[in-house]
């Protein structure tokens, strides 16, 4: 069987500016891959291309053996590619449960209507099992949650769509270190359940400790790709990566 996701020589951008330059990446089923890079390196653009929000100018994207390069976001959700966007994107005026229900929208196209209700119940149970704090506050308005809780809600909401591949765009942005550790603990649990995922990060340490594989992206090109443990001790990465971000935060 081929890889779950294959991004092949993708060029993409906005207007006239090319952000991704012949970028390639493979993710096997059950794998956790970290994409690291400084602000503006093209990480979010890559996520948008994989999720189907942005169509590449060149290159191809395959998912589950199927060419999805020009499949739009709604149909890619149905196939099982789900993005938890940068900045969490929580619906502050909806309750926590309603946020989760919105996350399950695509299930209605995936299953017959009599099955959907049961799948949603199952999804809610799984989400609340992973993040107990959300269960106790399920009827609260989401804007009242703390930043960390909102991130947990964003992940839980993405899980409601039953992803085969979960894309996480900077899940720890703006979170206190302790809260970020909690988020990664939950991701670890998901991984142990066999969830394939790509996590995009600016700060490398946690992501490298977590992922099977990592690649570093700089100015839209892949700088290097290796096993995460190998990169952790790699001088070249530290040079390239932290040299660009200017802040050795390890």
């Amino acid at each position: 069987m081929g890889p779950l996701l294959e991004v092949s020589n993708v060029v993409a951008g906005y207007g006239r500016s090319r952000v991704l330059k012949e970028f390639s990446l493979k993710v096997e089923a059950g794998e956790a891959v970290a994409v690291l890079g400084a602000n503006g390196a093209g990480k979010s653009t890559l996520m948008k291309c994989i999720a189907g929000l942005l169509h590449p100018w060149q290159g191809q994207i395959f998912f589950d053996g199927q060419d999805v390069t020009f499949v739009d976001v709604e149909d890619r959700l149905t196939l099982g590619v789900v993005l938890a966007p940068e900045g969490r994107g929580i619906f502050g005026s909806l309750s926590i449960e309603q946020n989760l229900l919105v996350g399950a929208t695509s299930l209605r196209r995936r299953y017959e209507s009599r099955v959907v209700r049961a799948r949603i119940e199952e999804g809610l149970e799984k989400a609340f099992g992973l993040f107990e704090v959300l269960r106790s506050r399920r009827d609260d308005v989401a804007s009242r949650l703390s930043g960390g809780q909102q991130q947990m809600l964003a992940i839980a909401r993405a899980l409601m769509a039953e992803p085969k591949l979960l894309l996480l765009d900077e899940p720890c942005l703006g979170l206190a270190p302790k809260v970020a550790n909690d988020v990664y603990a939950a991701l670890q649990t998901l991984r142990e359940q066999g969830q394939s995922l790509i996590v995009v990060e600016e700060s490398a340490r946690r992501a490298l400790a977590f992922a099977d594989r990592a690649c570093v992206i700089k100015l839209g090109r892949k700088l290097l790709e290796d096993r995460a443990t190998a990169i952790t001790g790699d001088e070249q990465l530290l040079e390239a990566y932290f040299g660009l971000s200017g802040q050795p935060t390890t």
Binding site: L53, L77, T78, L83, F91, V102, T105, A161
Partner: protein, 293 residues
């Protein structure tokens, strides 16, 4: 005391009509940042159709059903044909488009119905006035208040409790993320224009039943009142629309009872100046502007 109750009933009747009007406008604004200046023409077309049907002796319940269905179709059609291509365009593009739609609908109405006043004959039993002691309340006022309460209640239930409503609110708040969750923007557009059309149809019948007559150019007054109500209450949220509508109605009734006879012709101007005064004190409107349906 009696006078105060009388005024209160008047204010509730006027205010609840404005609240309805404002809801239909603010829903579309909340979801697609469109200030729909063609909105008033939905009311006018509905009322013109009502004139036609009533003149042909169609019973009132059928007239209401036919007119509201027509308003829904008309609203969805304009949304689909005129506004859907500009879903992601700047709000100004949408605003200008809505002026275009308004003109098209207006001239179509002139072609079909002529450019002179038509009388909306409502059956005499609806024109009766109820006497409660020395209190005099026209039946139309009671029907207006009752209908508004029911419509507002239904809309609240739809937005807060149904999956449709949750999708609409999610789209209004964060359209890009809503799309990422698999909500199709074009489907939401159809649903929202349908609801807006239904409200416009009901509000149009109530409005012109009270006014009694209309021309193809009678759309400006309700559009402006609805717009002022949503700005006064707080742009982009349904609670603001209801509060703004009631407040505007209250202000109007208050002014017309306080002003000397000589100034009565200027009631609208004085009301709008007071609205400007309120907005200077509370720039976000009474509830506060935020896109929360």
């Amino acid at each position: 005391m009696i006078l105060a109750i009388q005024r209160l009933a008047d204010a509730l009747s006027v205010g609840s009509t404005y609240a309805l009007l404002a809801l239909g406008l603010t829903l579309v604004y909340g979801v697609m940042n469109l200030i729909n200046f063609a909105y008033g023409m939905m009311l006018v077309w509905t009322a013109l159709l009502a004139v036609l049907l009533i003149d042909h002796g169609i019973p009132i319940p059928l007239v209401v059903f036919g007119c509201v269905s027509f308003a829904i179709l008309l609203s969805v059609a304009t949304g689909w044909i005129a506004f859907r291509p500009f879903l992601t365009a700047a709000p100004v593009t949408l605003l200008i488009t809505s002026f275009g739609v308004e003109l098209v609908l207006q001239y179509a109405a002139i072609l079909a119905f002529g450019n002179y006043p038509l009388v909306l004959q409502i059956p005499s039993y609806l024109n009766e006035v109820l006497h409660l002691g020395s209190l005099r309340i026209p039946k139309v006022e009671l029907i207006t208040i009752g209908t508004s309460v029911i419509v507002i209640g239904c809309l609240w239930y739809l937005l807060q409790r149904t999956s449709f409503g949750i999708e609409i609110r999610a789209t209004a708040e964060k359209p890009e993320v809503a799309r990422l969750m698999g909500i199709r923007p074009s489907r939401i557009l159809v649903v929202v224009f349908a609801i807006s059309g239904a409200i416009a149809g009901i509000a149009g019948l109530l409005w012109f039943a009270k006014v009694g007559a209309l021309t193809a150019r009678s759309d400006l007054d309700p559009t402006i009142k609805a717009f002022v109500a949503i700005v006064l209450g707080g742009l982009g949220n349904t609670r603001g629309a209801v509060v703004g509508g009631l407040a505007l109605g209250g202000l109007e009734v208050l002014m017309s009872s306080l002003l000397p006879d000589a100034a009565l012709g200027y009631t609208d101007a004085i009301v709008f100046v007071s609205v400007i005064g309120i907005l200077l004190l509370r720039p976000g409107g009474l509830i506060g502007a935020s896109t929360r349906l």
